[in-house]
Symmetry: D3
Subunit: 188 residues, 6 copies
Amino acid sequence: MFDVPSLDDVPDDLRERIDAVADKSGFVPEIFLTLARRPDEWRAFFAYHDALMDKETPALSKGDRELIVVATSAENHCLYCVVAHGAIARIRLKNPRIADQVATDWRKAELDDRQRAILEVAVRFAVEPWTITPSILESLRAHGLTDDDIWDVGSISAFFAMSNRLVHLTGTMPNDEFYLMGRVPRSS
Amino acid sequence: MFDVPSLDDVPDDLRERIDAVADKSGFVPEIFLTLARRPDEWRAFFAYHDALMDKETPALSKGDRELIVVATSAENHCLYCVVAHGAIARIRLKNPRIADQVATDWRKAELDDRQRAILEVAVRFAVEPWTITPSILESLRAHGLTDDDIWDVGSISAFFAMSNRLVHLTGTMPNDEFYLMGRVPRSS
Amino acid sequence: MFDVPSLDDVPDDLRERIDAVADKSGFVPEIFLTLARRPDEWRAFFAYHDALMDKETPALSKGDRELIVVATSAENHCLYCVVAHGAIARIRLKNPRIADQVATDWRKAELDDRQRAILEVAVRFAVEPWTITPSILESLRAHGLTDDDIWDVGSISAFFAMSNRLVHLTGTMPNDEFYLMGRVPRSS
Amino acid sequence: MFDVPSLDDVPDDLRERIDAVADKSGFVPEIFLTLARRPDEWRAFFAYHDALMDKETPALSKGDRELIVVATSAENHCLYCVVAHGAIARIRLKNPRIADQVATDWRKAELDDRQRAILEVAVRFAVEPWTITPSILESLRAHGLTDDDIWDVGSISAFFAMSNRLVHLTGTMPNDEFYLMGRVPRSS
Amino acid sequence: MFDVPSLDDVPDDLRERIDAVADKSGFVPEIFLTLARRPDEWRAFFAYHDALMDKETPALSKGDRELIVVATSAENHCLYCVVAHGAIARIRLKNPRIADQVATDWRKAELDDRQRAILEVAVRFAVEPWTITPSILESLRAHGLTDDDIWDVGSISAFFAMSNRLVHLTGTMPNDEFYLMGRVPRSS
Amino acid sequence: MFDVPSLDDVPDDLRERIDAVADKSGFVPEIFLTLARRPDEWRAFFAYHDALMDKETPALSKGDRELIVVATSAENHCLYCVVAHGAIARIRLKNPRIADQVATDWRKAELDDRQRAILEVAVRFAVEPWTITPSILESLRAHGLTDDDIWDVGSISAFFAMSNRLVHLTGTMPNDEFYLMGRVPRSS
């Protein structure tokens, strides 16, 4: 029900960032346009997103972060996030099956113990965050996560709790390109 | 489990904003310090917050916005948000009972029909956002809300879905001052 | 939808009890009037209430009993019980924050281990009583509760499962006085 | 885990009432003994019970009242109440199938429209009482219920919300006799 | 809403099987007729049913199998399955109370530890099968179940997840005879 | 935990059917092997499956039937069914996005009104079948479904309620081939 701004109408700083993404991906992901109705919120949204997602640590890779998005977004039936971040997860983890597995049944997905423990905590944050206790969080240390990694697990779940709801508010649909990304090995 | 930064250790722009809040309120709300562990996230968080909450429109007052926070945060058992934003709601709406009512049973609270319709949509966003349809959103127009107001209702619910989870992550407790604010008429 | 009897129309024994409460509190709590439509039920209700609540034991104080009411009534969104018994809890426990904490997130409230264990069992009684087992009940003995204390924990939860529903049936709203009671230290 | 008092040890007024029930039924229903650990609570419990259940009105018969008990107790997995009150329901309604039907799937039971509307409201009281609105209650008037009948529907649901939990607290099992009562036509 | 075929109209192989059941039971169980609208599905349904239910092993008797049906069907509010298989359970286990107990509150039923462990797994299969793990399944080995027994526990739960839904689809009601079967000792 | 039979060990009639599927698909879908531990159940399972799924009617195409499987299996977190039947749905409906959409958020998927009405009923069958009423079923007639089509909608939901649970019992994982099928247009 909300008009989607055209790329011509958005402020320059937004368009620059969007152009950069389009150059890299080959298309403009829909969420960049639907949220642009509100430039201040757009700036805060993507600044927050990048602070949490563009980061690689020994116990929480960029691919792991995408899996948190996929697993928690599936609980919220957020099609855009599952499909778009599922695509990135497949690419980063070089596994064409992992996104579908984590979206539908992370318990049976091709994960190691560390990843499974992370998703268990992340999904709990998504579904019943009031039951999270310090001892649940600290259990992740046994898998090598630092305090900052644990902060990231919780914050990514929290950020996408917001993001999923914004998608449902705006009715944003994933670009067609996302569905296939990372599924076929790049041919030589 | 996360160390809370002291005011001396946070970057200057954060401290300036925090000092301004403290000057106005008489104390530093805890969430300003616990989130300061991550300055970039702090900046995005408060920029987003202010874009949604520091706004008054004919059909969605600042007080109404606080009620959305209280109602949705109660569903997530978020003590900090219920108590801190409950205090602001009492002050803005000049009703010492409204926060307790909305936190426990918004259906029976002292609200007009417009406010009750808003909270019904907002709580649905908090609890099962995938069931939100355009026709549910558009029903708010009958109560005088514009498209931008409806965007705000959904976005405030979404933002506090994130905020509630960050509180549970960090174990942030409300300052003692919040509990009493707005309950006693300012004496002459 | 049900007419509330006036104090003049209730049987003498009810009025005497109500007058005594009013003398002590300074006002007539609403529930005493709305339930008076049915004097026999009124008598049974308050006899049962007093048998469970007007009792102090080493491991289950009067204040602890009020916390059980607040925590379980919050699960049932019972505004009257949360506000009225929250007021009594604040007074008995001399803690102006405790009722808001227990109503919204008892897991993070300023409680000792004994109190937290009690509320965990009480809330389970409120929400899914069929999962209560003897071993769950007996776990409270480790916190010093006697069999009679455990009986009281379960019975208070049970009694307010009824009471919460009677409030929803009758639409009883808390008296304005309750909201502030126990929040401000009695000035000298 | 709680000792069950023997009939010899209970106060005289309890024993008189229990003897009267035993004379009529041929056995002492277990709940009369398990609750007798607390004579004051016992007196309040049965006084309340009788005020709600021993009453026949044109739109809410004694049998209908038992159906409310069976349907709501089934939601709480309360074996004692389903079996004991199921027996009474069969007898009062002269239908040997009705209790099993209402306990398992009241929607498909052999009920008339009035009874089905009553059970729908009663079950809602049992499961999510905060969603009960005056308009839901008033819908029962279309089926001939008076305000007092509607009060009874809500109060019986409320009373057995308590009763079900007391059964789970005490682990009370139904007497063997109840299982068969009302299933076989009394032979001539 | 679906017409029930008469016995004359069903294919010969169905009628033969139905006649055999009628000869043994004295009546034609309704489900044999309502499903006969689709002979191929009927054949598959009863072939599957018999493969799972007509089997007796040391750790999973025919009576135990019926208890799985009763417990899981009660979760799905399937009146036909609870009443019909409850009758068979009473007969096979020679306990006139066991079906009502297991249908309403299997946790408190007159079961041994093995049976209780089986029902706990079976009910979990009925309600949230995605939480079943190999270690939950393997826990049944401690009670003497073989791998084939565990397969049967899961498969019976699965088969009646289908069967319960077919009953709700067709609105099949239990025959009157089932309600009383196994409740009265066969007189000499 | 259950050994998967090798193709050499299964009875001839199973192997013939499996070979035929392998010839057509190019691989043996895992479920054909895991269920072959029990040949009689295997025969009943696939006979039932084919009776419901290998059928095309004007108002319920083969592709529509696959969508029912995908939507209801997603509710049960059944990875095998979502991935395998999602592949078939993509092929039959010639839409490379439809399975991911229906699995994650059927409400927003690229469906016509008839398909959306079908999935709403089918998902209700999967999640709370006891709330299905004749009027809900009959509402599908407005979309052109015949009684037999409605029977199929309910029966497919019911059959996969069983199938999903068998997958969780056996831990069956989808073949790698399914993930990509129907996503890329067949090149000329």
